[in-house]
């Protein structure tokens, strides 16, 4: 029912605007805008924000796009939160560059805007960013793969990425992985510009199992000797594994991924995925709610992690074949902290 409500959120804009004028200090409004409400990652985020909001006695209003990349819905959501007189907005921007103007309008209206998970472009378009260090997430699985593969010098690598649009998160994970593995990534802000012969190719999956399966099949047609696969997330990895099974190649291939969703961690346990970098959406959202309440009460702005231009909410490598020098947890430990 909750999710149905969010789908109807845009029709509730008028109502929200009305109640906004009546909002007293002690019923502070905080907005959470996610890319979609289908991905368990965002579902978990909503859960974290809702728990924290209840604990702190503030009102949480949630919005979501219909699909990943639905910029329009997010613009509408921000506008309605401004109209409602919200204290701040937590947002995972679908279009990190495209939303900049709308976010500026919100900040001009006195709202604290915190980007969750996906940084804005430029990153200082928001007051703060609470995110997984996605480059680090990629780097961890890249390093793990380099230490695990028998002959990394002659590896044949395929990357199953998100989309052709070179989305920030997608690029960070892809480039982090390649660099971690020891490949010269050239322009770190661009995928597919590498010329290392070990890379067979990349294809896009939309982060879904159907995309992962088809992409994997096509890459195996290019070169059936592929033995290392980077996947943008675990659903894509699960789809890729089905393709590998159909080709009878699942034994020769190591799959690495990023996310830490419970089905993904189960797949680590089941040997489908070699290692995955786990992120913490619940923590991101609950810390975000705290930060906005703090700011509204005494004007303190959230700080960034040293050496980074955002607050790193942490990333942990999950694998059942740990390697020396890279800190990791086992799938059993990870099952207690996973999301989705």
């Amino acid at each position: 029912m909750k999710r149905l409500t969010t789908l109807l959120a845009s029709t509730a804009v008028a109502a929200a605007a009305l109640s906004g004028t009546a909002a007293a200090q002690n019923d502070m409004i905080i907005g959470l805008i996610t890319k979609t409400d289908t991905n368990p990652f965002f579902v978990k985020m909503k859960e974290g924000a809702a728990e924290k909001a209840e604990e702190m006695g503030v009102e949480l209003r949630t919005f979501a796009g219909k699909y990943d990349g639905d910029n329009e819905a997010q613009v509408e959501a921000i506008e309605s939160l401004i109209a409602a007189g919200a204290a701040g907005i937590l947002i995972t921007p679908s279009d990190p560059a495209g939303l900049a103007d709308t976010v500026k309008a919100a900040r001009d209206a006195g709202l604290l805007v915190i980007a969750l998970d996906t940084p804005f472009d430029p990153i200082d378009a928001a007051d703060a960013t609470f995110a997984t260090d996605n480059f680090k997430a990629g780097e961890l699985i890249g390093q793990w793969a380099a230490a695990t593969l028998e002959d990394p010098e002659n590896a044949k690598i395929a990357t199953l990425d998100l989309s052709e649009a070179q989305v920030t998160v997608d690029v960070l994970r892809n480039q982090g992985f390649l660099q971690g593995f020891g490949i010269d990534v050239k322009d770190v802000n661009r995928m597919y510009d590498e010329d290392d012969p070990r890379i067979v190719g990349g294809d896009v999956t939309q982060g879904s199992p159907d995309g992962g399966r088809t992409a994997m099949e096509n890459l195996l047609q290019l070169d059936s000797g592929i033995n290392l696969i980077h996947t943008i997330n675990e659903p894509a990895a699960a789809g890729a594994y089905e393709a590998l099974k159909a080709f009878g190649l699942e034994e020769q291939v190591t799959i690495v991924s990023v996310d830490g969703g419970c089905p993904g961690v189960q797949d680590v346990k089941g040997g489908v995925i070699g290692a995955t970098s786990m992120q913490f959406p619940l923590k991101m959202a609950s810390m975000g709610v705290e930060a906005i309440v703090e700011y509204a009460k005494n004007g303190t702005r959230p700080e960034t992690t040293e050496g980074l231009d955002f607050f790193n909410t942490g990333v942990t490598l999950v694998t059942d074949s740990p390697v020396e020098g890279i800190e990791s947890i086992t799938s059993d430990e990870a099952l207690e902290q996973c999301w989705g």
């Binding site: 052709e164 879904s208 399966r213 047609q221 699960a238 789809g239 089905p263 089941g270």
Partner: protein, 353 residues
Amino acid sequence: MSDANSDDYEKAIHSGGDVASFEERHRAPLERLHNFLHSYPTAAPLMVLAASLVVFGAIADNFFTPFNFSLIIQQVTVIGVLGIAQTLIILTAGIDLSVAAIMVLSSVVMGRLGVTMGLPTGLAILAGFAVGTACGALNGFLVTRFKLPPFIVTLGTWSVFFALNLWYSDAQTVRSQDIDATAPLLKFFGERVGIMGAQFTYGSFLMLGLFGVFWYVLNWTAWGRAVYAIGDDKEAAELAGIRTDRILLSVYAVGGFVCAVAAWIAIGRLGSISPQSFYEGNLDAITAVVIGGTSLFGGRGAIFGTLIGAITVGVFRSGLKLAGVEVLWQEFTVGVLIIVAVAMDQWIRKVSS
């Protein structure tokens, strides 16, 4: 093609006469092509497919192998089956934007009941079929009873079914290993057989079988001819004694059932049941129908055209990938194909007016 001329029998009668054969001699080659394409709706898509096979065979390594062809068939199986449902509805001059949402909802029902709740798998599958059929019937009911345009009805139910799917699945994926453990029958259509280096899934055979069944039904049963008649001219069909609303309702319900069958196939294809998959499957299905030469204005087209359309899209994606073309140009090319197909349809239709 036995359905040649069948949607335009009066013309066929005239063309047998002396006057028409006199005209024949004076026809320009272009005009003859025009008439040929009008008589055989699958001819144009078939030529496009043949041409693309030749081109990609020449430029892409590893393309022209039995294995790659069987792979393409596997990749288009789910969309092909959705395309059957879509073809039925487009033939009546309707459109169904909710086909993929019905499919995903049906697959989630099968997964929830069969895996999460542990009901007997057969029962779970039947429940999925029932849900799919009911969704289709709801579309048909809204279209016939309230006289709402199919585009708007299914635009609405697309969102409704998608939301129900998220609610019922709790946005959770049912994992491959869990299906193996409790309800392996759900993955039946993912099973493979190898034939001379090629690899086919049971799902691919089912798809081909369904195309055969619906080819027969559309061409050789009263119901099938009524579908064409309604799409050609609903009022005329009504005057001819066809109970158009009843037929229309049944077309949508059958479409929903076919979507539910696609759901079972999709589980085999993906291994898992993901509420987030096939979000744009509806558009892919329409693409297959349109490239397959079925007219969006209804009444003209052949079911096997849709299979050719789906395979053409698969061939382009595979061929461009193997030729090393970037992904965005795959999208570009499919877009161009759609426009060419629709322009072609407009041109072909002129012959009848």
